[in-house]
Amino acid sequence: MTLDPRNAALALHRFGFGPKLGSTSGSIAAIASDPQGALLAELEVPKAGQIVNPNLATSGAAQRTGFEFAYARQAQMVLERRRREAAQAENPGAGNAMEDKPAEAAAQANAMTPPRRNFLDEAGARINAAHNADIGFVERLVWFWSNHFCVAGTYMAGAYEREAIRPHVLGRFADMLQAAEGHPAMLDYLDNAQSIGPSSDEGIVRNRGLNENLAREILELHTLGVRTVYTQADVTNFAKVITGWTMLPTRDNPEHGGEFVFNPRMHEPGEQTLIGKTYAGGGVQQGRSVLADLARHPATAKHIATKLARHFIADEPPPALIERLTFRFFETEGDLKEVAKALVTAPEAWAAERAKIKRPSEWVVATRRAAGRKNINTQGMVGQQRLLGEWLWQPSAPTGYSDDNAAWLSGLKLRLQSANTFAQAVAADVDPRELVDATLGPLATAETRQAVARAETKVQALTLLIVAPEFQRR
């Protein structure tokens, strides 16, 4: 059997989280006999991409926990303020107690609060799934889709990824779309929870109206793509269609607050026309129908195909690859497993040029795998990726984190510092010379091999290895 260690290394770096030192299944050698087959095999593992952990809170529970904590803290602050005001009234010369205690304020910010615990549990589950995967292709797809349908500023982000993204990562795009847009995390993040049909009962009584945010982002970011086939009128009409898609108020409902509900009182009645098609009035089903049509629109196929190719292959992906993926997406009605297969069986996907820079989150996991870390520190890794500009589940805009190289190039100096810090902690446990072969194999340039071999310390050697272009590029 011929071995192909070059493509094995490529498969691990481009489609996975990099080789795992000391692993018999996540190494270059392990998949060298058939790198492409190994990627395809990961798609067939039962429950691939799923996280089964009964200890993780549902999105509703996470939302309620977070809300209750925030509310209790607010009450505490009000009490504190009253005490202060009372003290001030008694003794006008006294200083501001809280301002005098920056250490206490900092300690409070550091405390392991229930929402923070939830966040770290979710982050730990996600990072461990990536760290422990053989290659990690399915996890990379999860990360891709989670970024595509990103949410931020919510207690529910981790649960959202498990509930809306993971179940469909190798399923149908239409189902993922329905799950994501109907998820309370998304409805809250993009303001649809507050959007009210002007002619709905709520709209009339409270004299309130639409919020177009979610409708616009679904068309622009999640499905058709910007400047494609829709108009402002389509956006407005779509916003009307999905009025009433909201969540039960957390404040008033300790049992089910934060869960999805369709509220007919908020829903704009009547039929709506969207991209040349008229959708009869009929509650939640109206929106479901629109989403189903958006999922099978050719513009969506092209948009998704382009984003996938851009993520894995190049900022300006080869048109042939985009065409291939578009066609496969379209002909399988958005079967994401088939699209993933089309990606890794496309000749363009194995181009020798490694045109992409790994995003920080991906690189951070790759460094741990490269160094053969058995136990990983979630808090440290989450902090590191945040430092490098990719705050987990907290992108600054609904576009998610950029897939363009330019967005990450200026972070190379921070990555160097970050790499040096990591290397200081773990270099004593590794032989960097062995690491070059295990981690880069045939991808290592002579220059990188020499730089690592001639490094003045193990720390420097490991630093050089994990900041080398061969390691930082996909």
């Binding site: 190039l409 310390t457 720390v459 050089l464 272009p469």
Partner: protein
């Protein structure tokens, strides 16, 4: 008291990071590798004599140019060997005379003062038994104390400790400190319990590492080179020989890198080590490592990079002396490196990996004010393989002498366990006051 840490994997802390980070826990702030102490238990025999000795080893990783640190200004071949790069007693930055033959690098006034007070000894033309020139192997050999290479999991300092009978009254109060799984320099790794402390400031990315990364990028990935350059200050770019392509001037941010940060780290790490060792119930034996001595290009022995580093080291030594307080009189600090550098300067105004070098010994417990050297000379015929300062003193003899006379380590154990196969290398006598 400074916090102890449990095993941690990485750190999130650097001055740059602090501003942008989510609030880190105290644990996070303290993680990483840094100063590491082997727990000494307080050696029983020394204790019985009414002494409470302290012993600190500082590993200088990268290979210190011993001839640049301590120059043989009285050797007639010296200036011929190094030319304009030779440290001499003349010029704008004259060496600090030690005796009629040797002079100390002028970047090290603290060491010079200690030398004059009898608290510093310099051993010259010394080396471990290692005669190849690989950093990793050389450091393994230096820190393991083994006569040959191979898989090692313990260092000589740890094995020396393991052989010392603990003083029972010294350990009880700190037993919990042993519940530590540190990432430890090899020299103190091993069976004896080790605790670690990590300075809040990490050893910053050295200019040397940055330059090597930049050089790698320039040869393999110009896009990366430009991306990195945009984040670097003008000074380091200048050291790398200018920019890859035209770019706007980036002003240097004071304290954002470079020697100031190194100086601060060295002083903080060494100073903290001294505080620990000085504390009545603190550890008695410790080790730490400082990187950056691999001066292949633009060594700058008198003014420049090496001078800056030696200055930072001198500052660290000053911090040790200060923080040690009265315990200084019972202290020995050793500064050792994996090998020296080539006797001659190379084509890049630097020096390559060599053999013989210096070991610096400091502390009030020493009979100092001496340079100990069986001087081999620096004529071409005197050099090891016609390129390196020949090693005439086995570093193990020095270390064995200190361990025996200062910590009262057993001489047979020193030959059998601490430095196995070193029967023929007699412990050096008379190092202590």
């Amino acid at each position: 008291m400074i916090d102890m840490i449990e095993t941690m994997e990485t750190t999130m802390r650097s001055p740059l990071q602090a501003a942008t980070f989510h609030p880190a826990t105290r644990r996070e702030l303290l993680r990483g590798s840094g100063v590491l102490f082997a727990w000494a238990f307080v050696p029983r025999l020394a204790r019985a004599e009414g002494r409470d000795p302290r012993f600190l080893t500082i590993v200088l990783r990268g290979g210190l140019d011993g001839l640049a640190a301590v120059a043989p200004v009285g050797d007639p071949d010296w200036v011929k060997l190094r030319g304009n790069n030779a440290l001499t007693l003349d010029g704008p930055k004259p060496g600090l005379p030690l005796d009629s033959f040797f002079a100390l690098n002028p970047a090290m006034p603290n060491v010079h003062r200690l030398y004059q007070e009898g608290h510093a000894t310099i051993v010259h033309a010394a080396a471990t038994p290692y005669r190849e020139r690989s950093h990793f192997d050389g450091q393994d050999m230096l820190e393991s104390g083994l006569p040959k290479l191979g898989a090692v999991d313990s260092g000589w300092l740890n094995r020396a400790l393991a052989g010392l009978a603990p003083s029972p009254d010294a350990i009880a109060s700190h037993r919990k400190a042993f519940a530590v799984g540190p990432i430890t320099p090899l020299v103190v790794r091993g069976a004896a319990p080790v605790l670690s402390w990590v300075p809040p400031r990490l050893q910053p990315v050295s200019d040397e590492t940055t330059l090597r990364v930049l050089d790698l990028y320039r040869h393999t990935d110009p896009t990366f080179a430009q991306g990195l350059e945009e984040g670097l200050g003008a000074a380091i770019i200048a050291k790398a020989g200018g920019v890859t392509e035209a770019r706007p001037d980036v002003p240097d941010i004071p304290g954002a890198g470079g020697i100031e940060q190194v100086r601060a780290y060295f002083a903080e790490a060494a100073g903290a080590a001294a505080k620990f060792l000085a504390a009545p119930e603190g550890p008695r034996v410790g080790a730490l490592a400082f990187d950056g001595w691999d001066t292949h290009v633009q060594e700058g022995a008198v003014t420049g990079r090496l001078a800056d580093l030696l200055g930072a080291l001198d500052g660290a030594i000053g911090a040790i002396k200060t923080n040690m307080g009265d315990a200084w009189n019972e202290t020995v600090v050793t500064l050792v490196t994996e090998f020296g550098r080539t006797a001659r300067v190379n084509g890049n105004q630097g020096t390559d990996h060599g053999t013989g070098t210096v070991a610096l010994l400091l502390g009030g417990a020493l009979k100092g004010g001496r340079v100990i050297a069986d001087w081999p000379g620096v004529k071409e015929t005197d050099l090891y393989e016609k390129r390196d300062l020949k090693a005439t003193t086995d570093l193990r003899a020095v270390l064995k002498g200190l361990l025996r006379d200062h910590l009262r380590a057993d001489e047979r154990a020193l030959a059998a366990d601490v430095f196995p196969g070193s029967d023929a290398v007699a412990p050096m006598t008379g190092l202590l006051a």
